[in-house]
Symmetry: C2
Subunit: 387 residues, 2 copies
Amino acid sequence: MAKRNILVAHGGGPTAVINSSLQGVIEAARASDGVGKIYAARFGAEGILKKNLIDLTDVPAETVSLLSVTPATAIGSCRRKIGDQDYPALMECFKEYDIGCFFYNGGNDSMDTCYKVSEMAKREGMDLAVIGIPKTMDNDLVITDHCPGFGSAAKYAAFNAAELALDASGLPIHVVVLELMGRDAGWVTAASALAARTSHCEVLTYLPETRIDMQKMLADIEKAYAKGRGLLVTVSEGLCGLDGEPIADSGIVDGFGHKVPGGVGTTISNRIMTDLNIKSRAEKPGLLGRTSIPYAARIDREEAYAVGRRAVEVALKGETGYMVSIEADRSNGYKWSLGLAPLSKVANAVKNFPLEWIVDGNKIADEFFDYALPLMDGEVPKFAHLR
Amino acid sequence: MAKRNILVAHGGGPTAVINSSLQGVIEAARASDGVGKIYAARFGAEGILKKNLIDLTDVPAETVSLLSVTPATAIGSCRRKIGDQDYPALMECFKEYDIGCFFYNGGNDSMDTCYKVSEMAKREGMDLAVIGIPKTMDNDLVITDHCPGFGSAAKYAAFNAAELALDASGLPIHVVVLELMGRDAGWVTAASALAARTSHCEVLTYLPETRIDMQKMLADIEKAYAKGRGLLVTVSEGLCGLDGEPIADSGIVDGFGHKVPGGVGTTISNRIMTDLNIKSRAEKPGLLGRTSIPYAARIDREEAYAVGRRAVEVALKGETGYMVSIEADRSNGYKWSLGLAPLSKVANAVKNFPLEWIVDGNKIADEFFDYALPLMDGEVPKFAHLR
């Protein structure tokens, strides 16, 4: 059988472990005698459209191994939404570079693109295997138990909240508000509620799945702060009010005519100061929540690497039109394995945060941590409490 | 000789390693047969004034050893400024609990308090040894080569900027602004310039020691972003404009009549969007920069532990009126040792960031890293670059 050239591309925002999936792809390709050239698209789909590929065939093994501790994306990504008009150009690039296997590493939008490419390749009778590699810190892909990138973002949220709760309770001169990523999905912010288990600090957590009654929120904050143990309020960047509108608005309209969202944390912190006359400050690590290597979960890195490897292995066996999925067994410790999910079922579907895991509007149920803690290496940080 | 009771207190904001100094105090006290009770003030000077002490004499060794990975302050701190009227109450607490050694772990203000207590004890003929333990991420205490807490905060700034620069260059859809702590001193923010050495991303760094010409800053940002390699702008929270006024104002006046500062990062990010029509976002880890254990520097933790231990050892030998200082030798690798600095010379003095280490207003000279890199464990993060 002739050797097949492969092409890997990143779609959308990176995670702390997306480069581990890339490492898995490269190392599996090198381990096989069925692979010719190893290409990566420079800056995601844009790179395919512009035929701007990076030849990774001969990158030193030492550089490849550094991918496991390199955050963001080493080959670049973009946020360009692929429309119907773009597919001919994509296919042309595949033909020009004689691509036999295409791996798209991304979230919902990327899996939709992946699906359409695989269908088009079939229709055109191209010998092109298309396999999706899951990635999203938002954790909202269906079928797969969870998404590579989520465990690390969750661990970042949980551990940073845990550390910050100690600061808030050790020097309780203000309410501390921590804003976390996840505009529409509360999976990551929910993890920050771990701080309630690791400190004596009061912790209130607000997810975008619940609409915010600002007066109720402020009343709850006042009551919790009055206990005198310090108060950490963790909030998702995407919180909306009772009217369904974002509670924070920067007042800025960008060059594309889009309203620029304001900082939710700062907005709430300012309301705490003006309405409750309690000192407050807001912290917003933002993108740091997806770039941090020291807080990344080891298990997440292992799984991200494995889904990359598996994608290459199944494509070389002739499979196409699937996303590699993670299957988990939590019945006796945590065990994971890999499966294949039809792209047709993954594209355009969203896994929502279970509303029953949100308790009283600002607490997170134990069921969430039964699900998520293994993905954060199963660790609850231990601290010395002397007060 | 009768056993002496000791009292340790924390002053001002904590660091990632202040609890390591506490561990040093406790373990040195336990190792000596000259110590009776080990007390800590609950919530800093407030605890002394209110005679609210924690008896740590019999805390399990296992809990004490956890202090090295416990951020914030395990005994609590406060921001209360000690005035002349407070000293009688402090002395009364020392007498009531028969305190023979007092250790105050803090920055400039705390060393001033420490000095005054030591002088008052001498005047009153009290048998009280007073030793200051240095602590401040701001790194602005004199005589000591650097302050425990700085190396960890600097490593946090450097590594987070390095990771964020990869994100900004791998998905270059916006300028990323990173706001860092240090209202009046640029020591910590300067460390973030390390990102220029570890990525192909453009990096501009602005310290509070230079007044900001906003038009010039925006012009520099536009020029740097136009290179197309991504742009990270790192700024100190305390930046002031040409008029000497903070460039960010929240518009809020708190309950004490103080103006609440606005977010510098957000202010600059908004100007990038409105004035340059370039997408931008601002991140502000804030207090996370002083609480993070995974980013803390090992050498900083060791030194923090050692200054705590040394404080007890010298106090038990009868020394009083000193702060333990760190002496560094960089002539052949990095070596450190401990000394004693008279509190009279430390109190009310400030070590400024050398202006000659600021190059062209937004670059940091190599001399800074010659000084600071050893304090961040001498590590420059290594990443895979494939683009």
